[in-house]
C-alpha cells in the first residue's frame, strides 16, 4: 500500500515538477505569476489530442507537435498580452495573466466543446514489480520523460549561451540589457521553453487519466504553482523538488488522511513552509533596498 502510493506520488510529482518549472522560469525572468500556464498545459494536451485523433499521427510526433504548438502559443501570449503591459504596475500584468487564463479556457471550450474527451490509450497498462515497488508502464514512461526533459532543460540553462543569457536576465534585467543581451528575445525563449514543458506535462497527465477537458489546467496549474513556491520560486531545482514533494505528500495524504482534503493538503504544506521559510526551500532571501 505504502509503496504503491509512493510510486503514484512520484509519477504525479514528476508531472507537477514539469509544470512548476514553467512557472518558475517565467517568474525568474519577468517576476510574473503566469496564471495562464495551467491553461497552456491544457492547450498542449489538446494539441496532442488533436494530432492523434484528427490527423491520426503516431504518439511521438503528436507529442512533439503538441509541445511545439504550445511553445508557439506561449510566445504569442507573451508578445500580444504581456509585453504591452511590462511597463505598467505589476498588478496589471497579473490581471492580464488572469484574463488570458479565462480566455484560453473558454477558447478551448469553443473549439473542442466543454465535455471531457477521452484520450486514446496508446501505451498498454502493464504492471511491473521491482523489489516490492509496483508501478505501471505508463508511470515509468512518465518518470523517464520527465527526467529526460529536466536534463535537457538543465543542459540548456547551464551550458548554452542562451541559458547563460537567461540566468543573466533573471538576475538583473537592466544590467543584462547593458551587456548587449536582447532581453526581449530571452523573454520569448523563456516562455517557449516553459510552455513546451507545460504542454509535455499536460499531455502526460491526459495519457495518465485518459481524459482531456478545458478545465483540466485550472487546479493542476494552481498546484504546480504551489510546488514552485514551495521550492522557492525562481529556482529550477527548487521547482523540481517542490513538485516531487507535493506529488508524494498528496498521494500519501489522500491515502492515509482523507481523500476529500486531497487538494487542501497541497495548500496546507504551502502555508506551513511559507510561515517558516518565506522564500521557499531553495529561494534566496533578497534584501529590500530603499
Amino acid at each position: 500500500m505504502f509503496l504503491e502510493q509512493l510510486s503514484n506520488g512520484i509519477a504525479l510529482g514528476s508531472l507537477y515538477a514539469l509544470t512548476a518549472v514553467g512557472y518558475t522560469m517565467v517568474y525568474g525572468i519577468i517576476r510574473l505569476i503566469n496564471f495562464a500556464h495551467g491553461d497552456i498545459y491544457m492547450m498542449g494536451a489538446f494539441f496532442t489530442y488533436t494530432a492523434i485523433v484528427y490527423f491520426n499521427l503516431p504518439l511521438v510526433p503528436s507529442f512533439i507537435i503538441g509541445m511545439a504548438c504550445a511553445a508557439l502559443l506561449g510566445v504569442l501570449i507573451a508578445k500580444f498580452a504581456y509585453t504591452p503591459v511590462f511597463k505598467a504596475p505589476k498588478i496589471n500584468l497579473f490581471l492580464c495573466a488572469i484574463g488570458m487564463a479565462i480566455f484560453l479556457e473558454n477558447f478551448a471550450m469553443l473549439l473542442w466543446g466543454p465535455e471531457t474527451q477521452s484520450f486514446p490509450t496508446i501505451i498498454q497498462n502493464q504492471i511491473y514489480t521491482f523489489g516490492g515497488l509496483k508501478f505501471t508502464k505508463l508511470q515509468a514512461v512518465i518518470l523517464l520523460i520527465s527526467i529526460f526533459l529536466a536534463l535537457v532543460l538543465s543542459y540548456i540553462v547551464k551550458k548554452t549561451k542562451i541559458g547563460r543569457a537567461m540566468r543573466c536576465a533573471s538576475q538583473d534585467m537592466v544590467a543584462a540589457r547593458l551587456m548587449g543581451i536582447n532581453t526581449n528575445k530571452i523573454v520569448f525563449i523563456t516562455f517557449a521553453l516553459g510552455s513546451a514543458l507545460g504542454a509535455a506535462a499536460g499531455t502526460l497527465v491526459a495519457m495518465y487519466y485518459k481524459a482531456v477537458y478545458p478545465m483540466m489546467g485550472f487546479s493542476a496549474g494552481l498546484k504546480a504553482f504551489v510546488a514552485a513556491v514551495i521550492g522557492g520560486i525562481g529556482s529550477i531545482t527548487g521547482a523540481m523538488f517542490g513538485g516531487l514533494i507535493m506529488g508524494v505528500v498528496e498521494s500519501l495524504g489522500a491515502a492515509y488522511i482523507s481523500s476529500g482534503y486531497r487538494d487542501a493538503i497541497a495548500f496546507i504544506i504551502l502555508i506551513i513552509i511559507l510561515l517558516f521559510k518565506p522564500t521557499g526551500l531553495f529561494g534566496k532571501t533578497v534584501k529590500e533596498k530603499v
Partner: protein
C-alpha cells in the same frame, strides 16, 4: 475542432470592437474624472444627492422588470464586495486573492445560525461580520512575513482550504448539497420577502461601505494605509505601525465581505460551496483593478460593469467568458490605471503611464525598474 476558423474570425471581430470601445470610453472616463475634479463642493454634493435620489426610487421604476431588479441587487452587492477588497488591495496595497472566502464565511455563519438556531437576522448579520473579521485577522497575521506574490498564493490557499472544508465537513455544512431554506430577514416584526425590500437592505449596506471608505480615505488612518501601500519602508521610518495597519485592513475588508455574504445567504435562501470559489475571488479582484485601484467611484463603476456585462452578453452565451477574458487583457493594456484613475481623481499626474513609479511590491513597475 472543425469550427476553428469560424471561432477565430468571431473572436478577432470581438477583439477589434472591444479595442475601439475601450479607446472611446477611455476618453469618456477621463472627461468624467476631470469633471469630478473640477467640481466645487457645492456641485459635488448636489451630484451625490441626485445619484442617491435615483438609487432610492429605482426599484419602483423597475418593479415591472424583476430580472433587472435582481441584477441591480447583485450589482450593488458586488459593489460592497469590491469596496471591501479595496480596503486591502487599494488602500493598504496587499494582494489578497482569497476574498471570496470571507464572503463565504459570512454567508455560512448566517445560514447556520438562522437555520439551526433561529437566530434573528440582525444578530446573525453582526455575527457574520465578527467571524469573518476574526478570520481576516488570522489571515492578516501571515502578511507580516509575506509580501507580494507569496501573499497572493497564501490567500489563494486560504480560500481553497476554506472551500474544501465547506465541501468536506458534511456534519455541519451538509457538504456540496449546501444549506437550503434560509429564512427571509425580518426587522421588528416586518419580514422582508420581496426584491424591493432586499434592494433597500443592500443599498443601505452599500451606503455604509462607501461612507466608511470615504471617511477612512480622508482620515489619519487612511493616510497611513496609503503610505504603507506606496512605500512600506518609508512609512515605517515615518513612525507608522505598518503591521497594525495591514492587519486592520484585512479585518475591515473581511468584516464587510462577511456582511455582504450574510446578505447573500438571506437573499438567495440557499448557500453552497460553489458560490465561493477561487473564480469568485478573481472576479472581485478584477472589479477593483478594472475600476481603478483605490479610487472609490472607480471601484463602484468596475463592480457594476463587471456584474452587468456577463448578463448583457447572455445573447452570445458561448462567447461571453472568452470576451470577458479579452476585455481584461485589452483594458489592462489600454488603460492600466483602471476606469477612473485614482491619481487623476486627486488632480495629480495626468499621464497614467507614470503611475508605475510606486515602490510597492504589487503595484510598482515590474520589468524595467529592477
Amino acid at each position: 475542432m472543425g469550427n476553428l476558423i469560424d471561432v477565430l474570425i468571431k473572436l478577432s471581430i470581438a477583439t477589434v470592437i472591444l479595442y475601439f470601445v475601450i479607446k472611446i470610453l477611455s476618453k469618456g472616463f477621463d472627461k468624467i474624472t476631470d469633471m469630478i475634479v473640477a467640481m466645487d463642493k457645492e456641485k459635488n454634493r448636489k451630484l451625490i444627492y441626485l445619484i442617491v435620489g435615483i438609487l432610492l426610487v429605482l426599484p419602483f421604476l423597475l418593479s415591472r422588470y424583476p430580472y433587472i431588479l435582481r441584477t441591480s441587487i447583485m450589482a450593488i452587492m458586488y459593489v460592497v464586495l469590491a469596496l471591501s477588497l479595496n480596503f486591502v488591495l487599494g488602500f493598504a496595497g496587499q494582494l489578497s486573492m482569497g476574498h471570496a472566502a470571507f464572503y463565504g464565511i459570512g454567508a455560512y455563519v448566517t445560514a447556520l445560525l438562522m437555520v439551526n438556531f433561529n437566530v434573528p437576522f440582525l444578530l446573525a448579520f453582526i455575527a457574520s461580520a465578527i467571524v469573518a473579521g476574526i478570520f481576516g485577522f488570522l489571515l492578516g497575521v501571515p502578511t507580516l512575513r509575506l509580501k507580494g506574490d507569496y501573499l497572493a498564493i497564501t490567500t489563494i490557499g486560504f480560500g481553497e482550504i476554506l472551500r474544501l472544508v465547506l465541501v468536506n465537513w458534511v456534519e455541519v455544512t451538509r457538504g456540496p448539497a449546501g444549506i437550503p431554506g434560509i429564512p427571509s430577514p425580518s426587522f421588528f416584526g416586518f419580514t422582508i420577502n420581496n426584491n424591493i425590500g432586499y434592494y433597500y437592505i443592500i443599498l443601505l449596506l452599500a451606503f455604509f461601505t462607501v461612507f466608511v471608505s470615504n471617511r477612512l480615505l480622508n482620515s489619519r488612518l487612511g493616510q497611513g494605509f496609503i503610505a504603507v501601500r506606496d512605500d512600506e519602508i518609508a512609512a515605517e521610518a515615518m513612525g507608522i505601525n505598518s503591521t497594525y495597519l495591514k492587519i486592520l485592513a484585512f479585518v475591515l475588508g473581511a468584516a464587510i465581505a462577511g456582511m455582504a455574504g450574510s446578505f447573500f445567504a438571506t437573499f438567495v435562501h440557499y448557500v453552497n460551496p460553489d458560490n465561493f470559489t477561487y473564480m469568485e475571488s478573481v472576479t472581485i479582484l478584477c472589479m477593483v483593478v478594472l475600476g481603478g485601484l483605490g479610487s472609490i467611484p472607480g471601484v463602484i463603476l468596475g463592480a457594476i460593469v463587471l456584474t452587468v456585462l456577463p448578463e448583457a452578453l447572455r445573447g452570445i452565451a458561448l462567447y461571453r467568458y472568452a470576451i470577458y477574458g479579452l476585455l481584461l487583457i485589452l483594458m489592462m493594456i489600454n488603460r492600466p490605471g483602471g476606469m477612473i484613475n485614482m491619481d487623476r481623481l486627486k488632480g495629480g499626474r495626468k499621464d497614467e503611464n507614470s503611475r508605475g513609479s510606486r515602490s510597492n511590491k504589487v503595484l510598482r513597475r515590474s520589468y524595467s525598474s529592477r
